[in-house]
């Protein structure tokens, strides 16, 4: 039965294509794109099938590699949460890869084969991180995805390699810190399997090694998730990378790291242990709150669209982490829902910026004007949808994750974080309406001085493969908003024990 093998099949698909693409690239290089899309399609199909099985009532799948049961062997755990995240990231990756063909030809013409191979490795790493049930294995996948993302970010404009190098240094430190934390946990429990360890941790509660481990792991994952104040690598990396790389990494990468944080904090440790010695959830919550405000304020100060989106990511990741730190059902729903919503919104926005960069050659906000609306009507509709959703206007998706997060803060009577959510929505409105105002209202500078008539502009929309992917994701934002009751009722079944 294929159903029970799905946890292994998804990463293996990506691994296979990561190897196949360079091999087939020797034969016909321009086909790499299609192979990558094919790989992502197959993986997305498996994810969808797995999640369908989960929805229709099948149990959590624990897949033991080579039949070795833990603690000896490595296991992959396909439960509701990991299945959901895998489905989200693979779907987004599929759309971004479909979208990437022309950008690839333009921005890294000679490196297409390598690029798609590395992209497959990246997805292998992300899927492995989500699915694995073993802490050390998680580290390995973390490093695979990180190495791939350093390489992908390095392929970009002139400044990209330096940004990638900085990310490499910071990211490796993060991975090492995480590994150190795992070492501490291993000395205490003697196992690396998440489920085994979660069962053992309550017995050794109060051990100072556990607190050290937790702090190290949170710091390490926090770097990967760009939790304030560990976000320094993110703005440069996202804004200098190639459009496709940022569209691929921005919606997925930090989300997966946030997912790992959620696993570690809520599933592995559980709320009771975490707060027994130091109020670490409160600390994370406050950091997330500061990050949300900081990211939004910095986003307002940017004049480049991609850089603005990068800072906006810092802010949005704060929402997810805030949801984790609330450690109550509403916070959990909000966090998981925001993983989906933000992945959709950021993918849409980065794809739009990719469209603009391909057509206009820049993403400088100060140069945006009325002509964009005429030239790229549908791209701008997609942008508007995503922007309004980021601001949190119902019935778009972004509203609902904020709604659950707000309910979560209210449940904890945490008025401070509630006001953070509200204020940041306003700040989001500031930086998105600033652009919308330019795009829809500002008279273009290309106005003919003699006649005063705008030089004739016709629709100059991007190619269908790019337009449709952007539009479908934008439509997805609306659909997720309207249908979020179904998604939430699925998320409710994923609650970790003790919540």
């Amino acid at each position: 039965m294929i159903g029970s093998d799905i946890p292994a099949l998804i990463p293996i698909t990506f691994l296979a294509f990561a190897v196949l693409i360079p091999l087939l690239g020797l034969w016909k290089r321009h086909l790499s794109y299609y192979w990558a899309v094919l790989g992502a399609t197959i993986a997305t199909g498996f994810s969808a099938l797995g999640f369908y099985n989960y929805i229709s009532g099948s149990e959590t799948i624990r897949y033991f590699f080579g039949g070795w049961e833990p603690p000896v062997g490595i296991e992959f755990v396909y439960d509701g949460l990991s299945g959901f995240i895998v489905l989200v990231i693979n779907t987004i990756a599929l759309f971004v890869l479909i979208h990437s063909r022309l950008i690839g030809k333009r921005e890294f013409p000679g490196k297409v084969t390598g690029y798609y191979s590395v992209a497959m490795l990246l997805m292998l790493g992300f899927n492995g991180m989500v699915l694995t049930g073993d802490l050390f294995n998680l580290y390995v996948f973390l490093e695979i995805s990180s190495l791939a993302s350093y390489a992908l970010i390095g392929i970009g404009e002139k400044r990209a390699p330096y940004a990638a190098f900085r990310y490499l240094i910071i990211g490796t430190v993060g991975g090492s810190l995480y590994l150190l934390g795992v070492g501490f946990l291993y000395t205490v429990t003697g196992t690396l399997n998440i489920i085994d360890m979660a069962a053992m941790l309550p017995e050794v509660i109060g051990n100072s090694a556990i607190i050290t481990a937790l702090a190290l792991m949170v710091a390490g994952i926090g770097i990967k998730a760009a939790l304030f104040p560990l976000h320094g690598w993110l703005p440069d990396s996202y804004s200098y990378a190639s459009s496709t790389s940022s569209a691929l990494i921005a919606p997925i990468g930090t989300k997966v790291a946030a997912y790992v944080l959620l696993r570690v904090v809520l599933y592995l440790f559980g709320v009771d242990i975490i707060d027994s010695a130091i109020p670490i959830t409160d600390i994370i919550g406050i950091l997330a709150g500061i990050g949300i405000l900081y990211g939004s304020v910095m986003a307002i100060a940017q004049s480049d669209l991609k850089r603005m989106l990068a800072y906006s990511s810092v802010s949005q990741i704060g929402y997810i982490i805030m949801g984790i730190s609330l450690a109550n059902p509403f916070g959990f729903i909000g966090a998981v829902l925001h993983v989906l919503n933000h992945a959709l919104m950021k993918a849409c926005l980065f794809l739009v910026s990719g469209n603009l960069r391909l057509k206009e050659g820049h993403t400088d906000i100060t140069k945006f004007d009325d002509s964009y609306r005429k030239k790229y009507p549908w791209t701008m509709v997609a942008f508007t949808t995503a922007a309004l959703s980021m601001v949190g206007l119902p019935p778009l998706a972004g509203f609902f994750s904020k709604w659950y997060l707000a309910l979560g803060t209210i449940e904890n009577s945490n008025w401070l974080l509630l006001s953070v959510i509200l204020i940041s929505s306003l700040l989001n409105a500031v930086y998105f309406f600033r652009i919308l105002e330019k795009v829809y209202l500002r008279d273009p500078e290309s106005t003919d001085e003699k006649t005063g008539i705008i030089s004739s502009l016709t629709t100059n929309e991007v190619k269908p493969s790019m337009l449709w992917t952007t539009s479908i994701i934008a439509f997805g934002i609306l659909a997720v908003g309207l249908l979020n009751a179904f998604i939430v009722s699925a998320i409710v079944t994923m609650f970790p024990a003790g919540l």
Binding site: F136, Y139, V140, E143, S146, L147, Y150, A151, G154, K158, R159, P161, Y162, A164, F165, L168, I169, T172, V173, S176, L179, L180, G183, Y186, T187, L192
Partner: protein, 122 residues
């Protein structure tokens, strides 16, 4: 207290190595030096894992007639060792990517000094 410090001296050396590595990454301007710092940092973590596996009076986890071991507890824990094999390989892979980026940076900016680099970027 003295016992604690002496008994865990491998931990302390690990921490010192991590500190040296961090120092290299944060203070040094040269990008190669930063990479060397990174390597030292990772080695510190590996050392930590190896030291948690070792025990006084235990022997290597190899079954051999030359080292007769009656109790399993007298073997060292082999699991961290195997993990570190992976970690070392990961570390080298990281360094490989780092050097690839370094060479690209040098080809574009003709320098590996961070200060000069930042000036040239502006």
């Amino acid at each position: 207290m003295v016992d604690f410090v002496l008994g865990h001296y491998a931990y302390w050396f690990t921490i010192i190595l991590l500190a040296i590595g961090l120092y290299g990454m944060l203070i040094k301007d040269n990008l190669v030096k930063k990479t060397i710092g990174l390597s030292i940092f990772q080695t510190g973590v590996i050392l930590f894992f190896v030291s948690i596996a070792s025990k006084w009076g235990a022997t290597v986890p190899v079954k051999s007639d030359e080292f007769p071991v009656t109790e399993v507890a007298n073997y060292m824990n082999p699991l961290p060792h195997t993990l570190m094999l992976t970690a070392i390989v990961v570390g080298v892979a990281t360094l490989g990517v780092a050097f690839a980026l370094l060479i690209t940076i040098y080809n574009r900016y003709e320098t590996l000094n961070e200060q000069e680099l930042l000036e040239k970027i502006q």
